[in-house]
């Protein structure tokens, strides 16, 4: 072994022979800053491109694009989307996106919180790892494969068993009509969306629940609380802001989810009260029509729907991140 002095000077000599390190240091630093700034660049790029290529619709319809409806001269019925004759209104797509997203939240949130409670507070240690892994796998499956499964398994199941039962039991409410024999529609989209957003809500909820200090749990238990009371008072109440953040993040995913929804929602631009009716969402109409748009105005209308989706998801995601950060600040961050 060489004496340490010689070793050090050898390294120094080697490094000094490689030129002025101050300039290299500064250059390297600026290169890294530049790459980090591309993230802002991407956001600006998306925004400008979307605004630039949707100006045609904006100039023609303005804000009415999201509210107006037209009357079909033949049937005297309201209509919204007629690319050939230049009638464009995003109303049915906004409606479809909202209905399917909130339906999915309604189904997913209780299950996701139940799963998170089970995993963090009740689960035997040996089961925790595999279960967490299984939910992670759910998050890794591509959207188009959920769509494939939904088309060939979920939709027939709904069509043959669930929908007739709902019509029989709850048909009187008006939310369940049996005038759509395909099984494709808002309910199918809501169910598949629920399966898809469950992992993200659940894993974030787990994260904020883990951020609640153990002393909180011990304090509540020491007062004689049962386990559920401990979870309710000690954990859920402390983590509620973060849980709301997790739910909003799930909403963000549901709003923008494209392929699975496109494959099961039915793709008809209509507004129906029945959850079993087919519809279309903002993302699904883009996926369906963008590649073969009839004319420039059609393309511009689809781009404007994309712009609306972009703005809404930016706001929703920013809000959710702020809420989750408010709770887990200090705890190590995780990427999803």
């Amino acid at each position: 072994m060489q004496p340490p002095v010689a070793e050090v000077s050898a390294i120094r000599g080697f490094l000094l022979s490689r030129g002025n390190s101050a300039i290299a240091d500064r250059g390297f630093r600026w290169l890294m800053v530049f790459c980090a700034l591309t993230i802002f660049g991407i956001v600006v790029l998306i925004a400008t491109e979307l605004v630039r290529s949707s100006h045609l619709t904006w100039a023609r319809f303005g804000f009415r694009f999201f509210f107006s409806e037209f009357v079909n001269p033949d049937t005297k019925l309201p209509m919204y989307w007629d690319p050939v004759n230049g009638h464009f209104s995003a109303l049915p797509f906004v409606f479809g996106t909202l209905v399917s997203s909130f339906l999915s939240l309604l189904l997913a949130v209780p299950l996701a919180i139940g799963l998170a409670v089970f995993l963090t507070e009740m689960c035997p240690r040996w089961l925790r790892g595999p279960l967490a892994f299984v939910t992670e796998l759910l998050a890794a499956i591509p959207s188009v494969i959920y769509g494939l499964w939904a088309m060939f398994v979920l939709v027939p199941l709904l069509r043959d068993y669930v929908n007739p039962t709902l019509v029989k039991l709850l048909g009187w409410t008006g939310f369940f009509n049996d005038d759509n024999p395909t099984g494709l529609g808002f309910l199918a989209a809501g169910v598949i969306l629920a399966i898809m957003i469950l992992p993200i809500i659940s894993s974030l909820t787990r994260e904020v629940m883990n951020a609640v200090p153990g002393s909180q749990r011990e304090a509540v238990l020491a007062l004689g609380a049962t386990r559920w009371e401990m979870i309710r008072v000690g954990v859920l109440r402390n983590a509620r802001i973060g849980i709301v953040g997790a739910i909003i993040l799930g909403l963000g995913r549901a709003l923008g989810e494209t392929m699975a929804v496109t494959m099961v929602i039915g793709n008809t631009p209509q507004i129906q009260r029945s959850l079993l009716a087919s519809g279309a969402s903002m993302a699904s109409v883009i996926a369906n029509e963008y590649a073969e748009a009839a004319n420039d105005l059609h393309l511009s209308a689809l781009t404007e729907i994309g712009l609306a989706l972009f703005i809404v998801t930016i706001i929703v995601n920013a809000l959710a991140r702020l809420l989750v950060w408010a709770v887990t600040r200090g705890a190590p961050a995780q990427v999803h």
């Binding site: 800053v33 980090a36 494969i145 494939l148 494209t258 590649a291």
Partner: protein
């Protein structure tokens, strides 16, 4: 009464866990059943037959996915890792770094189809209608936020003493970052890149109007190109049973690829990649 409520809550939590696990198992079981019974050699060696004819395969889609993902990694990985280096090594605690981190997280939640429109507006012109290049750019942009955030996390796990030791020897900062810190964290950074890779490997929405799909052999960057997720979508909505069969086969191939990547990530990170360093 109180123990009754406790028992009820416990059983509800167990019930919801079961309700979550059941669809997952159902999806996987059905996928493996349908996919495995539809896979054969010609799936990997042949290109699609004209619609309605039996047989054919997806060799062009597998190669096409490879081209698109290679292009995406070429864009997403270097920029993403550099961004992560900035966050962990230079920007720690600054306002700029916080803003970058926040924007990356928010960008992660932007629907992929919106990225597709932006890239369409930027690159796709009458002269170059649909192309592999535009598809690769769309996927590459989507990789950047994920790679940035995982790289940052992995670099933060490298102990400070390692950096200090390097600097104390008179190593220039850029060299200490590249050959000491980044190298120490490289297993983690590589798994982070694979995670991003797995995510975009299944992306369909932005490819519909950028890469567009192609039923012939094509690896040219300025021509439409086929990709596995695109073919799954196209075949799933087609009316032919034989195409549905192939959609399932493609889905199985894609999921095996992705699950392998995710499992590897999980395996490496749970082993503590940085054991040697700390």
């Amino acid at each position: 009464m109180r123990t009754g409520v406790d028992g009820l809550a416990t059983s509800l939590a167990v019930l919801s866990t079961v309700l979550v696990v059941v669809p997952l198992v159902a999806i996987f079981a059905y996928l493996i059943y349908k996919g495995a019974s539809s896979l054969n050699i010609s799936f990997f060696t042949q290109i699609p037959k004209p619609e309605g004819e039996l047989g054919g395969g997806m060799a062009n889609a597998i190669v096409g996915s490879g081209v698109l993902l290679g292009l995406a990694s070429l864009i997403g990985v270097p920029i993403g890792i550099s961004g992560g280096i900035f966050l962990a090594e230079f920007g720690r605690g600054t306002k700029l770094a916080n803003a970058v981190r926040f924007t990356a997280d928010v960008l992660n939640g932007v629907p992929s189809i919106v990225m597709g429109i932006a890239v369409y507006a930027l690159i796709v012109t009458p002269r170059m209608p649909f192309s592999a290049l535009s598809g690769g750019v769309a996927l590459g942009i989507m990789m950047i936020p994920t790679v940035t955030r995982t790289t940052e996390e992995m670099l933060l796990m490298v102990p400070h003493a390692v950096r200090e030791a390097a600097l104390a020897l008179g190593v220039p900062n850029w060299r200490s970052v590249l050959s000491i810190t980044v190298r120490t964290a490289s297993p983690g950074i590589i798994t982070g890149c694979m995670l991003a890779f797995a995510r975009v490997a299944g992306e369909t929405a932005p490819l519909i109007f950028t890469a567009f799909g192609n039923s012939n052999w094509s690896v040219a960057l300025n021509q439409p190109i086929s990709a596995l997720p695109l073919e799954i979508y196209r075949y799933a909505i087609s009316p032919y049973d034989d195409q549905h069969r192939q959609a399932w086969a493609a889905a199985l191939v894609l999921v095996v690829l992705i699950v392998a990547a995710v499992s590897l990530v999980r395996f490496v990170t749970s082993r503590g990649t940085l054991k040697g360093a700390s």
